[in-house]
């Protein structure tokens, strides 16, 4: 069989253009597959950049309590129940401020300091990331 270099070249072009890792092309009984490995370091560095920008966004002067774990945040112990903390409430270090559910495990998030709640920065049922601010103090 004669290899049609042109097809391959064209496919390689598409791979680069659209940043794909694999492309397959068939015409009649001829099938051409071109693939390349997107290097691990590339993927990793993207992530570092995105987490850096997140940190930059969250820099402001007020004190905050951040999520110790990735998961879904709940403001009350049960749906429609009394919230753990409200705005303007005076809270103590160690007091539960929210629950973060991760893989069906309920994790109580304690306040890291004494203070008066200025803002609640998440909504009930929101997905939260590790280190994401949950409440801020006055």
């Amino acid at each position: 069989m004669k290899i049609n270099k042109k097809i391959i070249e064209e496919l390689v072009q598409y791979l680069k253009e659209y940043n794909l890792s694999e492309i397959e092309y068939a015409e009649g009984s001829t099938k051409v597959k071109v693939s390349r490995s997107l290097s691990g370091s590339n993927i990793l560095s993207n992530e570092v950049i995105s987490s850096k920008s997140k940190v930059a966004e969250s820099i402001d002067s007020s004190e905050k309590v951040t999520s110790p774990i990735v998961g879904t945040v709940y403001l009350a112990a049960e749906p429609g129940g009394k919230k753990f903390v409200e705005v303007d409430q005076k809270i103590k270090k160690g007091q539960t401020i929210m629950i973060v559910e991760a893989m069906k495990t309920m994790n109580h998030v304690p306040s890291t300091q004494d203070g008066v709640v200025s803002k609640i920065l998440v909504k009930d049922g929101d997905p939260v990331e590790f280190g994401q601010p949950l409440i801020s103090f006055k």
Binding site: G40, M103, P127
Partner: protein, 445 residues
């Protein structure tokens, strides 16, 4: 045979069901939440539909969205997998009422087996040994005291609508009874919206043994037992077949009586009857009316594809299997690989799998839905895959499992692989000298 099946689940069990459908020549519809759009079950299915956001109640538990997905895709049957809606009688009823086949038993049987008091009555009526305790739900402290005195402490107070260890209270002495009884009722009401509780004798060192059945309108066959006594927080971690600790006579009695009970209640599909085993005796615990996580243990031992049989029975009504077809070979062990850190009290460990290499080789099976670069989100169960190894005997199965665990590489998250190595090399596991409470007492880290 069905032309198209919708799989109302995610993760490794959805992949497992898609594989069975493909082998039957059935088209598959995957459903998923927004965060699962790139997951393996979505990639492998012929069609996929997004049901809603990451929270289970908006997606995998969202009955109206699921019914719309059935409508849009023209699926003829729904396979519920395990967890989520698999034992929800209300869902089974809705599916059936819409002329769609629910792959599992009738809504009526799901409901009866879901009520632990009712299930115990049925088991007793059809000749299974049950745990000594109240016949019905217990309503007053006086009644609770009378029953507890009769069976002797410690006793266990359980919620009729319960499961997963919630609402269970161990009472060690009569002085503790009143407070714990009232608390159990309160919790049962809160968690299950049903304050019915009942009392049973509490077992200190039980093994957990269960019997796999497949049942059609024509007959019921058993696929032997599984021993699932390595547990953490009431959840199984390692399962094996056959049970290394029961005698041949006890075993044959258990299998016969289980099969008879399941046949008499008119059960359809795959099911598991769970028992507590202590001091040479069995006691009915509950019946799971669905496929179980650990079903591959039995599949590997018997060579019978349980999920394909489920689909066959759902379609034909009958099972093609006879008891003579079920011939188990050697010893099989399954290790559950969870995304959690055993050294930190099994703390969840979501994240991105940076490097993934799965073991293979002789009699080595991996059931999973993960791959290099995939994201393990914190929104669902921590089970990410299962490793199943068979040996000519238990010793070889353990050796093979240790060999396979050594090959297994999962980087980027913490998993239970390392703990499994420690357990399988532990003299207590090797000599099978343990019970369901073993892991909580042993120090591995």
């Amino acid at each position: 045979m069905f032309k198209k099946i919708l799989i109302a689940n995610r993760g490794e069990i959805a992949v497992r069901i898609i594989r069975a459908c493909k082998e039957w020549g059935i088209s598959t519809v995957a459903v998923h939440s927004d965060v699962d759009k790139d997951s393996m079950h979505v990639r492998l299915a012929d069609e996929s539909i997004c049901l809603g956001s990451h929270q289970p109640q908006n997606s995998y538990l969202n009955i109206s969205a699921l019914m719309s997905a059935v409508d849009v895709t023209g699926a003829e049957a729904i396979h519920p997998g395990y967890g989520f809606l698999s034992e929800n009688a209300h869902f089974a009823e809705i599916v059936t009422n819409h002329g769609i086949k629910f792959i599992g038993p009738s809504a009526d049987l799901i409901r009866k087996m879901g009520d632990k008091v009712e299930a115990k009555k049925i088991a007793k009526q059809y000749g299974l040994p049950v745990i000594e305790g109240s016949e019905d739900d217990v309503t007053s402290v006086a009644e609770a005291k009378k029953i507890s005195d009769k069976i002797g402490y410690p006793v266990l107070i359980k919620a009729a609508g319960g499961g997963g260890g919630k609402g269970m209270k161990i009472v060690n002495k009569t002085q503790e009874l009143e407070d714990l009884f009232l608390l159990a009722k309160l919790e049962a009401k809160k968690y299950f919206n049903n304050d019915k509780v009942y009392i049973e004798k509490y077992f200190l060192n039980p093994r957990h043994i269960e019997v796999q059945v497949l049942s059609g309108k024509n007959r019921t066959v058993h696929l032997n037992e599984r021993d699932c006594s390595v547990q953490r927080r009431h959840q199984k971690l390692i399962e094996e077949t056959p049970s290394p600790i029961i005698s041949e006579s006890v075993r044959s009695d258990l299998l016969t009586r289980t099969t008879q009970m399941v046949e008499k209640i008119g059960y359809e599909g795959a099911g598991t009857v769970e028992y507590i085993y202590e001091n040479g005796k069995f006691y009915f615990l509950e019946m799971n009316t669905r496929v179980q996580v650990e079903h591959p243990v039995t599949e590997v031992a018997t060579g019978i594809d349980i999920v394909k049989e489920q689909i066959y029975i759902a379609n034909k009504g009958d099972t093609a299997l006879t008891q003579e077809d079920v011939v188990a070979r050697g010893h099989v062990i399954e290790c559950r690989i969870n995304a959690e850190d055993p050294s930190k009290n099994f703390q969840p460990s979501p994240g991105i799998i940076k490097t993934y290499h799965q073991p293979s080789g002789f009699r080595t099976r991996v059931d999973g839905a993960i791959f290099q670069g995939c994201k393990i989100t914190p929104y669902y169960d921590s089970l990410i895959c299962k490793l199943i190894c068979q040996g000519r005997n238990r010793t070889e199965a353990i050796q093979r499992m240790l060999r396979a665990l050594d090959e297994f590489v999962i980087e980027g998250i913490t998993s239970t692989i390392n703990l499994h190595k420690k357990i399988l090399s532990h003299e207590k596991f090797i000599s099978s000298d343990f019970d369901v409470n073993w892991l909580s007492k042993e120090t591995f880290y």
